[in-house]
Amino acid sequence: MKERVVLDVSRLPPHGMGRASPTWWGTCAFMLIEGSGFALAIAVYFYLMSLAPHWPIDAPAPGLVPGTTLTAILLASVVPNILLSRWARQRDLRKVRIGLIVMSVFGAVPLILRGFEFAVLNIRWDDNAYGSIIWTMLGLHTTHIVTDLIDTLVLTGLMFSKHADNPRRFGDVEDNAMYWNFVVVAWIPLYACIYWVPRL
Amino acid sequence: MPWEVSREFFDRAFIAVAFLVTLGAAALIGEAREGRQYRTDPTVGAALDELRLMPNGISGTPPEIYFALGKPYETTAYDLSQGKRLYSWFGCGACHGDGRGGRGPSFLDGWWLYGPEMVSIAASIRDGRPHGMPAFRDKMTIDEIWQLAGYVQTIGAYKAKITAPSRNDDKQTRPAENRAPAAILFDEGPVGPNAVQEPSH
């Protein structure tokens, strides 16, 4: 077919940032998928609760200390996370490197606390349905912390490598930061369900 | 581009990998495969009844037919799960509880009064044992006895067979057979009484 050039795109930036980047939209889509997953897990939790004569089933409510500490840390981590995202937008490599190291720590500490969380649930996954669902919720969220931690570590490595100074890397850092915010936000309702609903 | 240099190598590598993966999957599934025999031919049944025990009734050799069949009663998921149903249908729990014993000995403490071999267990069920183990000769058919024996042996196994039954839809009292309860409970020390061992004839 005969072609007529009516538009010159040669002056467009060679890489879309933020909402102009497909990766950003891809990350959102995956957060939507996992968000639905979390929502369904919570729905299952309340469904089982609605069937049970008393809740929690044959167990004291989980111990508050590790879970609450972890929640506090996760919330606190949002601050450096947002800063990191801003630095990435400004392409400030030095600050971004620092920020990534900080975020790696903020990713690793919750994992340690998570171990203690499982310890004070006061019930095993195979004791009854209540145990099964809270172990599953906690496990589900743990996998998200792990994946994002690994992502952060890889990015940190990248930022200290020769590939560092490239807008794409900074874009990846922004997306990773956005995903971490999702991990934190997703935790809040889970925390409420696991630790406070049994105390109602 | 580097890969073009050694295309044949990659081609061979690919074929090999694809082959191995498929094979691996087949092997894994084959492992889990369970032949299902619903009907035991009368002659086979008769042959299965030929237990040869040591004079003291402890251990012995199963009939050849048992090996000819490929030891189904201790390997196939279907027979093991049937065994589990028989365990509750014939009230074994009344004395042996969930396997940890009660009036009767435990299957989970690593201590087999008459040895852990299928043939001894089958003999115990079929002919009964001193100190209150009744004979089920007239209550079950021989293939049922083998199925039950296979299951009983599985409860006490320290390494779970992948064909071992999962939990039942009732109260959870101990981990199910596919999680090697014996191994888990062993750490908690033996449970239930160990009757004195003595020859049955």
Binding site: - | Y38, R39, A46, R85, K139, M140, D143, E144
Partner: protein, 332 residues
């Protein structure tokens, strides 16, 4: 047009099917089933008309005369727009109508509170256990795969399952309802006319889902009372020597470990209660007619007749078979 013919076939088939016998939603003999039949025919007719109209429009759209290369003019588009809107409006009206109709039908099928008789149905792989409980436990009895009910009164059916999900369905009497482990469902059935109504498990329940039939025998109150009285009684041991030998055999062999025969030491609970097995029309959940021959065949080799069911093949000589089946038959 093939499907057009098919619809005619469909509607006519419904009217024909109405006449033929066992286990059909269109052979309604129960209060609920009759209502449902009317609803079904009503909806089917409405839908067939809708379908026919759509087909007419389709054919016209294809065949209508066209001025060659007439281009879609704006006013013809507007006319079509109006028509489409009208059609959608019509759809909404029809849908609303059908919804309301089915609401009323559901209301009509409500639980009746004043049921004369309550029967507990337990689904088992792969047979039906019917428990007629009575305040006086001595008067309680149970039967298998065959339920007798008095005609013209509401019967409360309590549905429970002891293994997997089954579904209780006697189309001639009422719609189906599931039996779910850990739950109890209740439906009310009411037979308007005496008769034998066949039902079948309607939820896939494993190997022998296909052979899990039941029979509801509706008879007038007097006959029902007689039947119930007979069922309450313990088993009668007949004088026939063969049957007597069979009885001894039954107690000696594995049979007694799974089956109960009230009045004997046989008290197993895994298999159906056989106290009055001789009085039933079929055996093995509707698999075979209850004759001495089929009893012998069933006992001789249940795994060939109904592969995977829970009754083992007990090795028996032909004499023993004859005696056992004689005994079974004698348990009227």
């Amino acid at each position: 047009m093939k499907a057009g013919a098919a619809v005619v076939l469909f509607v006519s088939a419904i009217l024909i099917a109405g006449c033929n016998g066992a286990q059909s939603a269109l052979n309604a003999e129960g209060a609920a089933a009759v209502q449902l039949k009317h609803l079904i025919i009503g909806i089917v007719v409405v839908c067939s008309v809708v379908w026919a109209l759509v087909m007419v429009v389709l054919v016209l759209a294809l065949l209508r005369a066209r001025t060659p290369r007439e281009s879609p003019s704006s006013e013809s588009e507007r006319r079509m727009g109006k028509l489409v809107t009208a059609a959608v409006a019509a759809t909404v009206v029809i849908i609303a109508g059908l919804t309301i109709a089915s609401f009323y039908a559901t209301r009509g099928l409500g639980m009746s509170e004043d049921a004369t008789l309550a029967i507990k149905v337990r689904g088992q792989q792969w047979w039906w256990q019917f428990i007629y409980d009575d305040v006086d436990p001595a008067k309680s009895f149970q039967t298998a795969n065959e339920m007798h009910i008095p005609v013209g009164v509401d019967i409360r059916i309590e549905l429970e399952s002891s293994d997997v999900i089954h579904s209780f369905w006697v189309p001639s009497l009422a719609g189906k309802r599931d039996l779910i482990p850990g739950r109890q469902n209740v439906i009310t059935i009411r037979a308007e006319r005496p008769g034998v109504y066949r039902g079948q498990c309607a939820e896939f329940c494993g190997l022998q889902h296909s052979h899990m039939a039941l029979f509801v025998i509706a008879e007038d109150m007097a006959a029902y009372q007689r039947w119930a009285a007979a069922q309450r009684a313990s088993s009668v041991s007949s004088a026939d020597p063969e049957a007597t030998a069979g009885k001894a055999l039954f107690m000696r062999k594995p049979c007694a470990a799974c089956h109960t025969i009230r009045g004997t030491e046989a008290s197993g609970s895994t298999g159906p209660d056989l106290t009055h097995v001789g009085s039933r029309q079929t055996i093995a959940a509707g698999l075979l007619d209850n004759t001495r021959g089929s009893l012998a065949a069933w006992i001789a080799d249940p795994q060939t007749l109904k592969p995977g069911n829970n009754m083992p093949m007990v090795p028996l000589s032909s004499d023993e078979l004859r005696q056992l089946s004689a005994y079974m038959e004698s348990l009227k």
